[in-house]
Amino acid sequence: MQNWPVQRGLVEMDAAWDPSDPAGRAARQAPDGDSVVVLEAVVKRFGDVVAVDRLNLKIRRGEFFSMLGPSGCGKTTTLRMIGGFEAPTEGMVRLDGQDVTDLPAYRRNVNTVFQSYGLFPHLNVYDNVAFGLRRHHVPAQEVQRRVTEALDLVSLAGYGKRRRAQLSGGQQQRVALARALVNRPQVLLLDEPLGALDLKLRKQMQLELKRIQKEVGITFIFVTHDQEEAMTISDRIAVMNKGRIEQLGPPEEVYERPATEFVAEFLGASNLLDGVYRGSHDGLGLVELKSGAKIRIPDDPDRRSGQRLRVGVRPEKIHVLPSGTGPTATQNTVAGTLRSAVFAGVSFQYFFQTPEGREMSAFDRNATGGAVARPGEVVRLAWAPEHTFVIPIDQPAAHQQVQGEE
């Protein structure tokens, strides 16, 4: 199981491969270098609707890449254009350095795990998995070896004779995965493959997908609307909205330093406060809120004094200080009136109102047993300056991120 060579070339299945370099990372002379999938200014229109809007994207060889966004954000359309199921209205799609924009799906060395799995009901598991190999006239003996190996990989050894109707949802999902991976594609596309599974199975499959991806070394492009799922399994995430990429980067970066309000709101809850930049002090930027409170933020030399900014902090970064306790000198603080406290076992979720009238929420680990304050009480909300993120508001937030490489 250690060798899962990725095929070079578009259709020939038995091209020579180097077992010591399963993902073919070394000695690549392709024009796109490290990128296995490159989209250049890709536009897809359905009638008057722009589904994908001048998208530039480079996906690195061997990475687990996720496209995350609400329904209608263009993520599935983008995936389908990579797979060859939709033709871009404009722009170019390159696979491993080759222009495949006009190549039909069956001639691309890319395989897809569909949301509905798409298992053939008239074939058993074995024949389903062997389908792609047989279309490429792989010798029967090798078909058998590779199908067995693929079923092993997804922990379904011995299920070859079963039909689709005899499999659970999770098993169907694994068969779909084996059926795609057995072809050793350059890129595996996954269109919300876990969407139909229940939560527990979903969590389990997330880890399993990650393990399999590491094991086979194939580039995975994963589409999901579940931010937690994307953060759990991805090396990099592209957060999409209205046919464009709002932000692209590793999960921690996208979560901790969202670049736009959309990203801040889509990846978990955020507390956003408007203010004006007042220059820097001690290596930290200063933002003055309407109430006069000063918030320290990670500085950026490009900011100009007087610029309007929106600063944000995640609810779990906030410490709720009961009246009487003071914040440490380095912390940002704002005052808040407790509106409600929701007990959730491991944590409390608090909802506050700031003097400006904005809602703020905070998670607090249930360490002391009991809420820190009663509704109506005024407390201080404190957090570290480095946990503050900044979203520009003078320009429209979206559409000006550097797309592609972060």
Partner: protein, 264 residues
């Protein structure tokens, strides 16, 4: 079931073993002679029925499958209009339709008359009263019974499966061969039954489009009942016919049975 199926069959079976004639009455006498006489006299007509009916079923399938395929996969939003257009002629009584075919295919009819006077066809060329006319007529008469089940099974195919096949390197031909055709077999199975059974038993087409040499067993049975008034012989012929059909059906079911075709 008893009233509308078993009772008539039982009556038929009893009648087929009677002897006598219409004017002096029929008596039940275990007269097995009806069977042997029927089979030896009319074996050629039985064969005709199987030949023409079978050929008509194949012709209907060959025309209906591509038509149904096109409507199901390539007709876009106007699917139902196309379906209606194909089925519209069948709102006219089939006797009238068959008669019109007779007129159309007549030796000096609108089709062959001009071709003959232009000397493009020999003067003794004819379609009417030949097996071709009968087969064609049968195929046409029962065309909807082929088209509709085939169309229904094609329409039901999950379009995602076609994308799956394309994703797994199947070109258009292989998608058709490996996915669409196998998944439409239940419809083909139903269509063949619905077309084949009435086509084999039909007697109108060969009456209106055929000649003396193309008589099918259905016609013989009808004649025996209505003209010769030999009820026992007609019943015996019908019974043999029915048993033959039943045996064929069971065999057909064994070979192409739905169980094998359907995955779930």
């Amino acid at each position: 079931m008893f009233l509308f199926f078993l009772l008539p069959i039982l009556t038929l079976a009893i009648m087929s073993l009677q002897s006598g004639d219409f004017f002096n009455g029929f008596v039940f006498t275990w007269n097995v002679g009806n069977y042997s006489r029927g089979i030896s006299l009319y074996s050629e007509q039985y064969l005709h029925a199987i030949e023409y009916g079978g050929a008509a079923t194949i012709v209907a399938l060959l025309v209906a499958y591509p038509a149904a395929y096109w409507i199901a996969f390539h007709a876009g939003p106007r699917k139902s209009s196309y379906l209606l257009a194909v089925l519209l002629p069948f709102f006219v009584s089939f006797v009238i339709r068959t008669l019109s075919w007779g007129v159309l295919l007549a030796d000096d009819g609108p089709l062959f008359g001009p071709l003959k006077s232009a000397q493009l066809l020999p003067l003794d060329f004819r379609v009417l009263a030949t097996p071709v006319a009968v087969t064609g007529g049968l195929a046409y008469t029962f065309f909807p019974f082929m088209l509709l089940p085939v169309y229904a099974s094609l329409e039901k195919i999950d379009r995602g499966l076609i994308e799956s096949a394309q994703d797994l390197y199947a070109n258009r031909f292989e998608v058709l061969r490996r996915v669409i055709i196998p998944l439409s077999l239940p419809g083909v199975f139903a269509g063949v039954l619905l077309t084949g059974i009435p086509a084999i038993a039909d007697y109108v087409n060969q009456d209106l489009l055929g000649g003396v040499g193309t008589t099918m067993v259905g016609r013989v049975i009808e004649r025996q009942f209505e003209v010769s008034l030999n009820y026992p012989l007609a019943a015996a012929l019908a019974f043999v016919f029915m048993l033959g059909l039943l045996a064929t059906l069971l065999l057909y079911q064994r070979i192409f049975g739905t169980e094998q075709i359907m995955g779930d």
